[in-house]
Every structure is written in C-alpha cells, then in structure tokens.
C-alpha cells in the first residue's frame, strides 16, 4: 500500500515539476508580460528609447487578420499596423487574443492597440478610444442565387438566417427580429461558417458586412456564382485602431500616419492586394 501511495505522490510531484517547467519554458518566449502602467503612451517617450507596441488581434477575420503557419498574422490590418510601425521605427509584438475579452485586455494593458476589423461603436467608445477610421463597410443580406424569393419574403419565411454570434451582423439580426420580421437566427462561430450554412441550405440567408463578403467572394469565385446580395442594411460602419483613452501620444501618431497613408496612392494598392478595393 505504501508503495502505491508513494507511486501516486511521485506522479503528482513529477506532474507538478513537469507542469512548472512547461509553464516557465513556454511562458518565456511568447508570453511577454504586459504589465505596463496605464498611460504608457500618454506623452512623448524618451529620446533613443525603443517604442514597443503590443498589437492585439483575433485572427479570425479574413482579409483583415489571418494566421500564418509560422504563428504570425497577415492581412490588411496587419499591413496597416506594420506600415505605421515602419514609419516611426516601432517594434510590434503580435498578440492573439480572444474577441470576447479583447477590449478588457486593451484597457488593462495586456495589449496596446487593437487593429482587427474592429468597428467603432458607442459602447466600445466608452472604454477605449479609436483612431480615425481607415475602412468603412455596410451590412448586407445574402441569399442563394437560385432562391427567387424577395428580401421581405425571406425575412418573413420563418427560415433560418445565419450570422456570426456576437458580431455586428448578429446585432442586425436582433434589430430585424425586434422590428417584427419572422425568421430564426442561426448564430455561428465565424463569418465563414455562417456563409457555409447558407451554402449548405441550413440557412436561407446570411447577414454579413461588405468588408468580409467582397474580398471573400473575390477569392472564391465558385462561391460568388452561388450567392447574391439581396440588399444593404443601414448606414456604413467604420473600422479603426483602438487604443487606451490615456494613450494620446500613440493615438496622435497613429492618426497622423493613417492620414498620410490614405492620401498616398499606395493605399489603393493595399486595398486591392487584399481584395477590398
């Protein structure tokens, strides 16, 4: 009996040790602590000091942020951030972060900026402050090309309409339901899976934003042949780079760089590169 207890205990000790080693070894390279004081970028940094900006994103949103096999992101937003960083000689640390807690992570200093297709909303603006917008889009409602029903028929058909849960499209679905339309909402994990639901026939329509749909259809012409845009919903929305309210210096720098970038003809090339032009 003593042997078995010892065996169990030994296992636990080894487990603890292994766990600890794993923790410390895994933590060291990629998990840089982000315990900056609030107001890290409030004023002008000291001369000769390297500015290090922790860039938070959820790589779930092509073509704005997508993960590469080597663990770094690419995409329109990533290019924009890199261009800003290059202009000022900043060092960027890429930090993937879950969308559900990303605003808190920025507020609390785990991240310094968010550029991940983040829409300016009034709710978000109470906690975090946005740069000038660098992209605008509208919400669109999409159906299968062979579906001959009108928009209002589909909205009142009682069928499923797919959205990405928690997205602005999701909010639009709720708004439509509140307005009295008769359909069922199918909340899914991402825009791509919501679009797939439409193609599979699990949903009769799909609410998306043009920022996702346009580039995606350009990249996948076979899908473009199967769907059609039934109409737009509401006014345009804007994407911007989020910062902490107190980081005025950083925001000013970003705004200046964005203005310069968007005035440059290269901006259109960048949009085209990602299918957004």
């Amino acid at each position: 009996m003593g042997k078995i207890l010892a065996f169990l205990l030994l296992g636990i000790v080894i487990g603890l040790a292994a766990g600890y080693l794993l923790v410390s070894s895994v933590t060291a390279p990629s998990q840089n602590k982000c315990l900056y004081e609030a107001g890290k970028f409030s004023g002008v940094p000291k001369k000769g000091e390297q500015v290090v900006v922790v860039y938070g994103f959820d790589a779930n949103y092509p073509p704005f942020t997508v993960m590469q096999p080597n663990g770094t992101p690419i995409g329109f937003d990533v290019d924009v951030v890199n261009m800003i960083a290059k202009k000022y000689g900043w060092k960027i640390i890429y930090k993937p972060w879950d969308w559900s807690t990303i605003v808190t992570a920025l507020e609390k200093g785990d991240l310094d900026i968010i550029a991940s297709g983040m829409t300016i909303t009034s709710a978000r603006s109470q906690k975090i402050w946005f740069s000038i917008p660098y992209y605008s889009y509208v919400h669109q409602i999409v159906a299968r090309r062979n579906d001959t029903r009108s928009l209002s028929k589909i909205l009142n058909s009682g069928d499923y309409i797919a959205v990405q849960s928690g997205s602005t499209a999701d909010e639009w679905a709720d708004r439509l339901l509140k307005a009295g339309y008769k359909f069922k909402k199918l909340g899914l994990g991402s825009y791509t899976s919501a679009l797939k639901a439409l193609l599979d026939g699990r949903a009769s329509a799909f609410i998306t934003d043009s920022a996702f749909l346009g580039p995606y259809l350009k990249k996948n012409p076979d899908i473009e042949n199967k769907v059609k845009v039934l109409g737009n919903l509401g006014a345009p929305y804007n994407y911007a780079i989020a910062t902490r309210p107190q980081d005025k210096w950083l925001r000013d720098k970003i705004n200046a760089a964005l203005e310069e970038l968007m005035d440059n003809p290269k901006w259109n090339e960048l949009l085209k590169k990602w299918g957004l032009g």
Partner: protein
C-alpha cells in the same frame, strides 16, 4: 477552392498548441487534486462552520462560468492580491481552483463510500483521526475515485479551450485560426479531434495503469 495542402503547412502551428493544452490540463488537474482532496476531507471530517465556508467556495466555482472566472482572477483578484500572474499561470490556477470544486465532490463521495465500520475498527485499535484518514480512508477513497477522476481529466481537457480568453493559444484556438485562414472547415477540426483523442487516450491510459496497479481483489470490481 481551399486546398487541402494549405492545411499541412499549419500542422506544426497546431501541434505546438498541445504543449499549452497539456500544461493547462496537467497543472489544473494537479492543483485541483490537492484543493479537491482537502475540501473533501474537511467536508467529511471537519466542523460545520468550515463546511459552510467551503460550500460557498464550491458553489462559487461551480456556478460561475469559466470565462468569467478567468477574467475576474486575471484582471481583478490576483492583481489586488499583489500577484502578477501571466495569462497561462492564471488559467492554470483558475482551472485548478474550479476543478478542485468538482474534484471535491468526487473525493467526498468516495470517502463516504468507505464504510463507517472500518473507521470504527481503526479507532478501536487506537488510531487517531489523522492516522485513520491517511492509512485507512484515503488509500481506499483514492482508489475508488480513479474512474470518476479520469472523467475529470476529459472535462478539463475540454474546458482548457476557453483559456484563449486570456490569449492562451491552446489547440482549439489555433485550429479555429487555421480553419479561417485555409477556408477548410472539416480537416483542421478533424486533426484537432485526433490530437484530443491522443491526449484523452494517453491520459486514460495512465489512469488505467494506475487503476490496475492499485486494484485490490474484491474492492473495486463493482465500481467500474
């Protein structure tokens, strides 16, 4: 059309996530084991007031969604205690404290299933409570716990995916990213499924080994 080949380049990226997943699961289970066992002992042998306090702990950790616990401890509780824990450390601690609440029920049940007669017998030969717990109750209770405990391993493996809320890049988050990047829905998740299967298989394999080593004729047969 998304090419299947594009996924293969992502395999190392996904596999790297197992390291994170394993640290989450292992760390959480071990912390949960000690918390759970202590809670169970107090619940079975401790005083009423202490029991009530622990019930609050258990109620809190079982009743609060993991996502909320992670945010709460990472951004509020630990900083206010002066603890500067990284997202991974916080995730392990929270998984451990939560698992402890669940494991306490497992251990409590198995402690209670050691019949009272044996405790009387241990007292009758002059064992103190501390001795009878360590030499009579726990050796049996831990054995009885093994099957339910294996189950807890599977539960925590599943829960570890939520730790991405603090930016911990375990397997499922990576797979989600890969699915988005490649436009493939099935293959990346299938691959994750295989990884989880291997982890589950390895884990239950270890538990089975322990179970067989610890097995006592006539004591556990009825419990499986």
């Amino acid at each position: 059309m998304p090419s299947i080949y594009s996924f293969f380049r992502y395999i190392p990226f996904v596999v790297e996530g197992t390291l994170w997943t394993i640290s989450l699961v292992l760390g959480g289970l071990v912390i949960g084991f000690f918390i759970g066992l202590s809670l169970a002992l107090v619940q079975s042998f401790g005083g009423e007031r202490l029991k009530k306090m622990l019930n609050i702990y258990i109620w809190f950790f079982r009743g609060t969604p993991l996502l909320v616990l992670l945010s709460l401890f990472y951004w509020a509780v630990f900083p206010s205690l002066g603890l500067e824990l990284s997202p991974l450390e916080t995730s392990i601690a929270v998984l451990g404290m939560r698992s402890g609440a669940y494991q306490s029920q497992i251990f409590k049940d198995s402690i209670n299933s050691v019949d009272y007669g044996q405790i009387l017998a241990a007292r009758s030969i002059g064992m103190s409570n501390r001795k009878l717990i360590s030499y009579i109750v726990l050796p049996q209770a831990l054995r009885i716990s093994i099957p339910a405990w294996s189950n807890e391993y599977a539960v925590i493996l599943k829960d570890s995916a939520i730790c991405f809320a603090l930016g911990v890049m375990e397997i499922l988050t990576r797979v989600r990213y890969v699915s988005t990047a490649t436009g493939l829905a099935l293959l990346p998740y299938l691959f994750a499924g295989v990884l989880f299967f291997i982890l589950t298989f390895a884990g239950t394999g270890v538990m089975d080994f322990v179970y067989r080593r610890a097995k006592i004729p006539g004591m556990l047969e009825g419990l499986r």
